[in-house]
């Protein structure tokens, strides 16, 4: 390890805790508090990766977590930002995007084929001749992309949490601290969100007077306020509608709702554009200062500083004071105004070359980093002399200005625009309840940032207190800080002046794309891929606008900017995928089913037993369950059926309008089939309505339909405004269907105070009473075509009753049966399951439910549409079919009915009937195929054609004698 600078340099590192780690298989040592990149820089290693397209050596320019060049691979995590991720003991870090290592990247040869990778090569190269893509794809998949996914990784816990505050302050630099303090002083609940591990921003690394107490004072002021909550190492990645912020911190995504937001997001140091401006060892002034003050790293032995303003001189002074030899300060401005730092630098005898620029950088002959620069005279906007002075250096510090970090503000609806002929966007307007301060709002000094922060805080407080006179949110930027030269973009005849380092986009590529007609900034972005890398244009948008404006003889303001979208910084998938919520509904008998060996299946949100027994005995289990119901007695948990109480003077009127049949003649104690169609006449659900009292109906709904049906019924009521109450009591009642010839005996054995004789309780009766001491609603209905009762006990007593029925039925051969057996049983009876045998177009006449329409009713939902559809004539009908050939393939649901090579319908339900000992089913067929006795052809699995005969429904017990006994 090289010697570090002595304190106070290195505020973030703990020199007593060395940290050993590996990079590219070599051992390195850093200190606790180092980032991966700072620890490597301390050892003179600048190169972190190879570039995406041309495999050029790259490092970090800004040391602020923005760029693709600093993405590295950890053992089980790809694309880690090396310049912000803390180094940990034993960490094994690999460079990304190399074939065979960083030093000898074989894919670097790709750089030699650069002329074959022109702008838009994604769209041009791989399509002709036909089929060539298949060849290219393999190569591209191998070389493209960044990190590698470790498929043997250990899962981590990610989750989400909501947070609320009066004011969220994004960014804890000078402006953010001042804003938070100002709001906190007013007693507001403030959330201060800082992406670095400590508060302070520029104040923690910028050049200040040694006696300056600003940072300590601000921190102390904020810490003293209990109403200010501080989140550090927390990144705001999105600013959505109504001040809803996404903030990622560790493995948690915070969803923050703020009444007002103050953006103090600071700025991004911009690169200069010249030949080989991508070499490792070329860093921003802020990066050099971070390395010195945060990590105690001397960034180089001999540096050149390229600047367009006073901040380059500050960096030069910092470097010189920390042991770096500053070869020259190269100032692009012809007549630099005498800034305070420039004056100091001049006084200390620094060599200053004004009106000059770096024309190109040269690679070190030994190492993957900068070795020197060619400095020449600026001859005009974007032009410099070919010949000049060669300067050796191992560090080039670039101070090409700072762009406001306005991405989040732009997402919220703030407008940025460069003024006049400038290239730097300036904040023009803010949406309601949004404020900005500091560099993001155009401040160029700490004093300005503090004043703006204070002002924004007071403005937000006034806004939230409802006082009309909210202070002006946008501070006027002093004219003196306007850039005085064109943006430092110097195209070179030999190229390699990168506008976008993430995506390897050069000046020429932008110009070519423009020449090809991609003049709109959004199209230019997509075609050239400029701004599409991890930095999302933060380091390239201004240069792109400058190049475009120059090529079009226009202004950056006219060129415009691309749309900002969240997430504004790369975000781990875990944060999005982490702990979601997926409610599950259990019937009261859930535990019993599982204990009894049921295979559970999902039905909407519910869990239901499919059948009881091991999966390898599925078919036998289902057949046994079917036969138990037909020959003895079976029990099925139908608690998942929807249940609605319709009560009030207009209860009948409501049913008459909402459902298709008429209930006017339904007496208390009776049930009726209740079919529901929508306004288009499409069958949407069915159930049974039981009249419990003069103005009280209990209506069931299908398992799948209940959840949508309740809002629908309430929507009708919202329009009809009838004197009726509709209550969803689905979960309040369990439901047990006991069916089979022995059903009555089981109930009687258990003890019931309801007379069950066919006279006292005939088919379709509805009764209430006590069964085994439990208050139940008893409906004598069934779906399976045997003597059956649907028992609706209170949910809390359902399991007890179920167990009692099982015990009482043991002597009668009772068996629980599941959904699969029920499907077979109901199919044998020819009953339609809405949504299985119907689709989004099915109207009642197509499925022979015309009898369920109250034709004489003046109105029901769907009536008019059904009439129109009926007049048009049927285009298909649902029929029952049986396959006479018992050795033929059993068709599956969804198999097509074909005739002369044309599709005339499809199978909706299919089963092997154990009772009939043949394959049966329901299918849509053409109307002229619907006659009983017609032979239809079904295209079964593997294209085998199966002949089936249309038969009369129901298949089983056609006279319906068994359910009426």
């Amino acid at each position: 390890m090289r010697e570090r600078l002595s304190p106070p340099a290195g505020s973030r590192i703990d020199r007593s805790r060395p940290v050993a780690f590996e990079f590219e298989g070599r051992a390195f040592t850093g200190y606790a508090g180092d980032t991966i990149a700072s620890a490597l820089a301390a050892n003179g290693a600048w190169c972190l990766s190879r570039s995406f397209k041309l495999h050029r050596p790259r490092g970090s320019f800004g040391f602020a977590g923005d760029e693709a060049g600093a993405l590295v691979q950890l053992e089980s995590e790809p694309n880690v930002q090396a310049d912000t991720r803390a180094v940990e003991p034993g960490l094994r870090v690999q460079a990304q995007n190399t074939v065979g290592g960083l030093e000898r990247d074989q894919a670097a040869l790709l750089g030699r084929f650069e002329r074959f990778l022109p702008v838009g090569f994604y769209y041009k190269a791989f399509y002709k001749p036909r089929g060539v893509w298949n060849w290219w794809e393999k190569i591209i998949r191998r070389t493209a992309g960044l990190g590698r996914v470790d498929r043997s990784w250990t899962p981590e816990y990610f989750d989400k949490a909501y947070a609320h505050c009066d004011v969220a302050v994004i960014g804890g630099g000078a402006a953010g601290l001042a804003a938070a303090a100002a709001c906190g002083d007013q007693g507001l609940d403030v959330l201060l969100i800082e992406r670095e591990p400590e508060l302070g921003g520029w104040l923690t690394y910028g050049r200040r007077k040694s006696a300056d107490r600003t940072l300590d004072d601000l921190r102390r002021r904020v810490q003293a306020l209990t109403s200010v909550r501080v989140m550090t190492s927390a990144t705001c990645t999105g600013w959505y509608a109504d001040n809803w912020l996404a903030v990622s911190q560790g493995n948690r995504l915070h969803k923050v709702r703020a009444r007002a937001v103050i953006a103090c997001t600071g700025g991004t140091s911009q690169p200069a554009v010249f030949r080989n401006n991508d070499l490792p060892g070329i860093v921003s002034a802020a990066a050099a200062q971070r390395l010195i003050r945060h990590y105690g790293v001397r960034p180089g032995l001999r540096a050149v500083v390229l600047t367009t303003g006073d901040e380059g001189y500050a960096a030069a002074l910092d470097l010189a004071e920390h042991g770096t030899d500053v070869a020259a300060v190269v100032d692009c401005r012809p007549d630099p105004p005498a800034g305070p730092m420039a004056s100091q630098a001049e006084a200390r005898g620094h060599r200053i070359l004004s009106g000059h620029t770096v024309r190109e950088a040269r690679r070190d002959s030994q190492r993957l980093q900068i070795g020197g620069v060619l400095v020449t005279r600026v001859t005009g906007p974007g032009a410099c002399a070919a010949d000049g002075e060669e300067l050796d250096c191992d560090l080039l510090v670039v101070a090409a200005g700072v762009a406001p970090a306005g991405g989040l503000l732009a997402q919220a609806g703030a407008k940025f625009r460069p003024s006049g002929r400038g290239a730097v966007p300036r904040l023009e307007s803010l949406p309601a309840h949004a404020y900005a301060a500091g560099v993001a709002a155009g401040a160029s000094t700490v004093e300005e940032a503090l004043a703006q922060g204070e002002q924004a805080g007071l403005a937000a407080a006034a806004d939230l207190s409802g006082s009309a006179a909210a202070a002006p949110a946008i501070a006027a930027r002093p004219a003196a800080a306007e850039p005085t030269v064109s943006w430092p973009v110097f195209p070179h005849p030999d190229g390699h002046e990168f506008v976008d380092l993430d995506e390897d986009v050069t000046v020429r590529e932008i110009e070519d794309a423009l020449a090809e007609g991609y003049e709109d900034i959004e199209l230019l972005k997509r075609y050239s891929t400029v701004g599409m890398g991890p930095s999302q244009g933060r380091l390239s948008a201004i240069a792109t606008a400058a190049v475009t404006a120059a090529a079009q003889d226009s202004t950056a303001a006219a060129v415009g900017a691309t749309t900002n979208r969240p997430p504004s910084v790369p975000t781990r998938f875990g944060l999005f995928a982490g702990r979601g919520f997926q409610p599950v509904r259990h019937t009261p008998m859930q535990g019993w089913h599982v204990d009894a060996g049921a295979q559970m299946m999902t039905a909407g949100l519910w869990m239901r037993p499919a059948y009881y027994g091991p999966p390898e005995k599925r078919a036998d289990a289902i057949a046994d369950e079917v036969l138990a119901v037909r020959r003895a007695v079976g029990l099925i948990d139908v608690s998942t059926l929807g249940g609605f109480e319709i009560r009030g003077p207009d209860a009948l009127e409501f049913l008459e309008r909402a459902y298709t049949p008429s209930f006017r003649r339904l007496r208390v104690g009776r049930t009726r089939y209740a079919l529901l169609t929508d306004e288009q006449g499409v069958v949407v659900d069915d159930g049974v309505a039981a009249r419990q009292g003069p103005d009280h109906y209990y209506v069931t709904a299908s398992t799948s339909g209940a959840e949508q049906l309740y809002p629908l019924l309430l929507w009708y009521q919202a329009q009809w405004q009838l004197d009726v109450d509709i209550a969803d009591v689905t979960s309040a009642y369990g439901a047990i269907n006991i069916a089979g010839p022995q059903a009555r005996r089981v109930l009687e054995k258990l003890g019931i105070d309801i007379g069950l004789s066919p006279e006292a309780c005939p088919y379709l009766a509805a009764r209430t009473g006590k069964l085994a001491g439990v208050d139940v609603r008893l409906l004598r209905i069934g779906f399976v075509g045997e003597l059956g009762y649907e028992i609706h006990p209170p949910a809390s007593q359902s399991l007890g009753l179920w167990q009692a029925l099982i015990d009482a039925g043991r002597d009668y051969g009772i068996r629980p049966f599941g959904v699969e057996a029920q499907r077979v049983l109901r199919l044998e009876k020819g009953h339609v399951i809405v949504t299985q045998d119907t689709d989004g177009l099915t109207h009642p006449h197509e499925v022979d439910l015309g009898w369920a329409l109250g034709r004489r009713k003046p109105f029901f939902v769907g009536k008019r549409s059904i009439e129109i559809l009926r007049e048009k004539g049927l285009s298909r009908r649902l029929v029952g079919y049986a396959v006479p050939d018992r050795r033929a393939a059993v068709p599956d649901e969804g198999h097509l009915v074909v005739r002369d090579g044309e599709i005339t319908g499809r199978v909706t339900s299919s089963a092997w009937s154990p009772v009939l000992d043949q394959a049966i089913g329901l299918a849509y067929v053409a109307p002229d195929q619907a006659e009983v006795g017609s032979v239809i052809t079904i295209k079964a699995a593997r294209g085998r054609l199966v002949e089936a005969e249309v038969v009369r429904l129901p298949f089983y017990d056609p006279e319906n004698l068994r359910q009426a006994i």
């Binding site: 109504d242 306004e679 549409s865």
Partner: protein
């Protein structure tokens, strides 16, 4: 996430709601011809500007009506259905 001012529950995340589409007065089903009826069922206005929509607060099973600007996504006003469908506003079929 957008905030919906619910007349029953106050301002809530839009995630708690579902939109029930535009409030459209059905034509008289007995008098409308098939074309007018199909127009009502299938053709939606999709206007740019302030539209009147049904909204449903799922946790309370509560329907209400919102006037919303489809250009700015601003919710101008929310109110109870009773205001439009009062006792006198029952459809004209007994």
């Amino acid at each position: 996430m957008k905030i919906m001012p619910c007349p029953l529950n106050g301002p809530r995340n839009i995630q708690e709601f579902t939109c029930g589409g535009e409030v459209v007065a059905p034509p008289d089903p007995d008098r409308a011809d098939a074309a007018a009826w199909a127009d009502y069922l299938f053709l939606h206005h999709n206007a740019a500007g302030i539209v009147r929509e049904w909204w449903y607060h799922v946790p309370t099973s509560f329907w209400f009506i919102a006037d919303r600007n489809t250009v700015t996504d601003e919710i101008v006003r929310t109110f109870l259905p009773r205001e439009l469908f009062g006792a006198d506003a029952r459809p004209d079929h007994p």
